[in-house]
Amino acid sequence: MDTTRRDFLTTAVTVAGAAAAGDLAHAEDHGHGHSHQVVPSDPTLRVKSLESLLVEKGLVDRAGLDALIDAYEHKIGPRNGARVVARAWVDPAYKQRLLADADKAIAELGYGGQQGEHMLVVENTPAVHNMVVCTLCSCYPWPVLGLPPVWYKSAPYRSRSVIDPRGVLREFGLELPEDVEVRVWDSTSEVRYLVLPERPSGTEALGEDALAALVTRDAMVGVAKLSPRREGSAT
């Protein structure tokens, strides 16, 4: 192993070890009883040094980096997917197009692109529950959901979703009836999946915007069902 990788790892390991030993002084607590993504000061410096080097050699443009980050921090996220879902709920012809050719139907609303070049939308019904995972890495439909949350990229979700989907859903607070058919979609190719959740009952009077506000990221990954009142945040 080269020096660079070893040094980086040594530092990361040291700090992770401190956190594991209960010394949270060096860890970052997110206010919900555990810490993760424990970060030594080292990556900050190392990444900064690498960026400066790449900029100095003319290999990257700093404004380009900023624009990329801005796109995924502020413009592309689960609100996009929520609009797709709401449109499908109110417009049966759109829903048909969405299930038949997701790329084109999603593009109708102006979404598409990187890590969503090839999309398939799968519909949840009272009889069928779809959920999405990437066991091999962390593939996720960026144009409609943004970048994935930590749990989606984590070993527990990646390892267990395919062998114990019902147990995983239970941890998300979703107990599926025994007779429901569970379909797990493992993102092994460049095809990305979006779950079209069931429209909650009691929302017949709501317009498209109000419906979109009910749709959560987790429901579009297939680890939650939607309720008529918005409980979580999709962003």
């Binding site: 660079t4 993504q37 990556p43 003319g58 624009a67 990329l68 990187q114 091999l136 395919v162």
Partner: protein, 219 residues
């Protein structure tokens, strides 16, 4: 490769930890790693399969210990060196080699919008006939390549059904190693949960994998 990244079906990874109102990035350096990988990728010196494989090559114990962006960072440095974009001396010192030319970055802010909204499609419009039809029974091959593959271990040797033809796509197993795009058909293959996991699984449940034709034999 039979790496720890191929974790479908493994036990012992613990409970799922949700974070309420999670930020897109937890630290600034994570966002910089994210952007640097994309921006240098615009040089076309590697492809998405190369970068995935480089992450798989992170030693197993480290892979599990490191966070997502930490893994990406260590793999990124390897890629930069292997593809000749930077030298180890430059990375360790932070200083460009003497006399190295100043390049013109390909990913400018204007081009970011195009990259983000158009992406980099890996489908190929080439006339390759499908070997399998919808509804056909297939068996995933029992292969154990030491290089990159997108056929997870848990599906190898298992019986499935072709549910859909996604079209023709670049083949990761060769593309990752610069051995050609070798495009061919990718299918949605349905494996019953019982076929994969035995009697413990519900009879009506299933797992759908998107598999290249080269991973499949007629059954």
């Amino acid at each position: 490769m039979n790496g720890v990244h191929d974790m479908g079906g493994m036990h012992g990874m613990g409970a799922i930890q949700e974070e309420k109102n999670e930020p897109v990035f937890h630290h600034r350096w994570e966002s910089r790693v994210f952007a640097l990988r994309r921006a240098t990728g615009a040089w076309g010196k590697w492809n998405i399969d190369t970068t995935r494989h480089e992450i798989e090559l992170v030693p197993a114990a480290d892979y599990l210990r490191l966070g997502y962006y930490e893994r990406q960072f260590v793999a990124f440095i390897e890629t930069l060196v292997k593809r000749g974009m930077l030298t180890r001396v430059e990375i360790d010192s932070g200083i460009p080699a003497r006399g190295s030319p100043k390049a013109v970055p390909p990913l400018t802010p204007e081009k970011v919008a195009v990259l983000v909204s158009k992406g980099v499609p890996t489908s190929r419009d080439v006339p390759v006939s499908p070997r399998f039809q919808t509804g056909q029974r297939v068996r995933a091959r029992n292969i154990n390549p030491t290089g990159h593959t997108r056929l997870p271990r848990y599906a190898r040797g298992k019986l499935g059904t072709i549910e859909r033809d996604y079209g023709v796509f670049v083949f990761p197993d060769t593309n990752a190693h610069f051995l050609g795009e070798n495009p061919h058909h990718v299918y949605a293959v349905r494996f019953s949960a019982r076929e994969l996991w035995g009697e413990q699984a519900k009879p009506q449940d299933s797992v759908y994998l998107a598999l290249w034709e080269n991973y499949l034999d007629p059954a």
